[in-house]
């Protein structure tokens, strides 16, 4: 069963470097957007929104969580449209002070243009977007501060990286020995209890088949929990592929320069029982074998 988006909403499906955008047209003629993509694509994000806005002022930017692929367009959009930036309450002060390590940008070897949040959103809050009432729910697991949004009247869930059609985002807290699997489990339980009929994920297309998506996510979570090294290996490949999407082509030496000192990459390497250099080499081999990268002499190329 499919369902149409409410007329006050637009969905911009992006890719794995830039998360999706959800645009809302408000009754007063203004507009709001959820998530803004990666900094490399900020100009494209601005151009796409300008086209869809059709002259409406963009007054609010909301972030589901402050990972670089979800908030990398914040600065450019705020500058071009004058929008206020609202971030999850748990990340507000870190973003205000721009604490690079704690914000995960430096720790993942990723980039983000500095922005200044104007306000925050917190789980339990009710929020109006596109003249619809949205509930803010906690979505820890992938990121302890992440939120997701649910509109009960239309049973629409904006799930961020807590649930994709096939899986969910890396369980980052587990890499440094903190709890994440349990939180991911709770998020899946919460989603099941909400029973959305339409899910707008942070990456990939909108989907409607909740039961099968939850079943895949639960099976994957059980598989990761069984041996946390699996989560570490998955994280390594994701981090390397992400940097390669950003750089497009790079030598192994440049990649170790980018990732070798990144704390999250170091944690994942250690959990996988590898040095950072070994972990990079293993990730590259795996990605080449899977067709996600190709080698051309010294160079690695993201196709």
């Amino acid at each position: 069963m499919t369902q149409a988006l409410p007329s006050s909403m637009r969905f911009i499906e992006r890719d794995w470097l830039s998360a999706n955008q959800i645009l809302f047209f408000e009754d007063d003629g203004s507009a709001s957007v959820v998530d803004t993509g990666y900094v490399k694509h900020a100009a494209l994000t601005c151009a796409l929104l300008e086209r869809l806005l059709g002259g409406r002022p963009l007054t609010r930017i909301l972030n589901t969580h402050l990972h670089s692929d979800h908030c990398g367009g914040n600065a450019a959009l705020a500058q071009q449209f004058g929008a206020a930036i609202l971030v999850p309450s748990g990340s507000f002060q870190l973003a205000r002070d721009w604490q690079l390590e704690a914000l995960s940008f430096a720790a993942t070897g990723q980039r983000c243009e500095r922005f200044i949040p104007d306000g925050s959103i917190h789980p339990g809050q009710q929020f109006n977007l596109g003249s619809l009432a949205w509930e803010v729910h906690a979505a820890a697991g992938h990121d302890p501060q992440s939120i997701m949004l649910f509109a009960p009247a239309h049973r629409i869930l904006i799930s961020a990286d807590a649930l994709w059609e096939d899986g969910f985002g890396v369980t980052f807290p587990e890499l440094s020995g903190e709890s994440g699997f349990q939180e991911q489990q709770e998020v899946l339980d919460r989603i099941e209890s909400l029973q959305p009929t339409m899910v707008i994920p942070g990456h990939g297309p909108i989907f409607f088949a909740l039961d099968s998506a939850l079943a895949r996510a639960r099976a994957r979570l059980a598989w990761l929990k069984e041996d946390p090294v699996r989560n570490a290996r998955y994280a390594l490949k994701v981090l390397v592929k992400f940097i390669m999407l950003d750089l497009e082509q790079a030598t192994e030496a440049l990649l170790i320069e980018q990732l070798g000192s990144a704390q999250v990459f170091r944690d994942a390497s250690a959990q996988a029982g590898l040095s950072a250099e070994q972990a990079l080499h293993w990730s590259l081999e795996s990605l080449v074998k899977a067709g996600a990268l190709r080698r051309q002499g010294e160079l690695l190329i993201s196709p």
Binding site: N20, L44, R51, L52
Partner: protein, 49 residues
């Protein structure tokens, strides 16, 4: 985006096609994919000549 062609240099889609992609039906997506194939061909001919 290429200023000369108005296409994304990565996916060879126009701004309007990218903006509408998330809301397209499977048939509409297939139609755009067909266009992209033609653009790819045109691009490789340009390179060759």
């Amino acid at each position: 985006m290429s200023t000369a062609t108005g296409l994304c240099v990565g996916c060879l889609r126009t701004l309007d096609e990218i903006a509408a992609w998330g809301q397209m039906s499977p048939a509409e997506r297939t139609a755009v994919m067909g266009q992209i194939k033609l653009r790819k061909l045109a691009k490789s001919h340009e390179k060759a000549s």
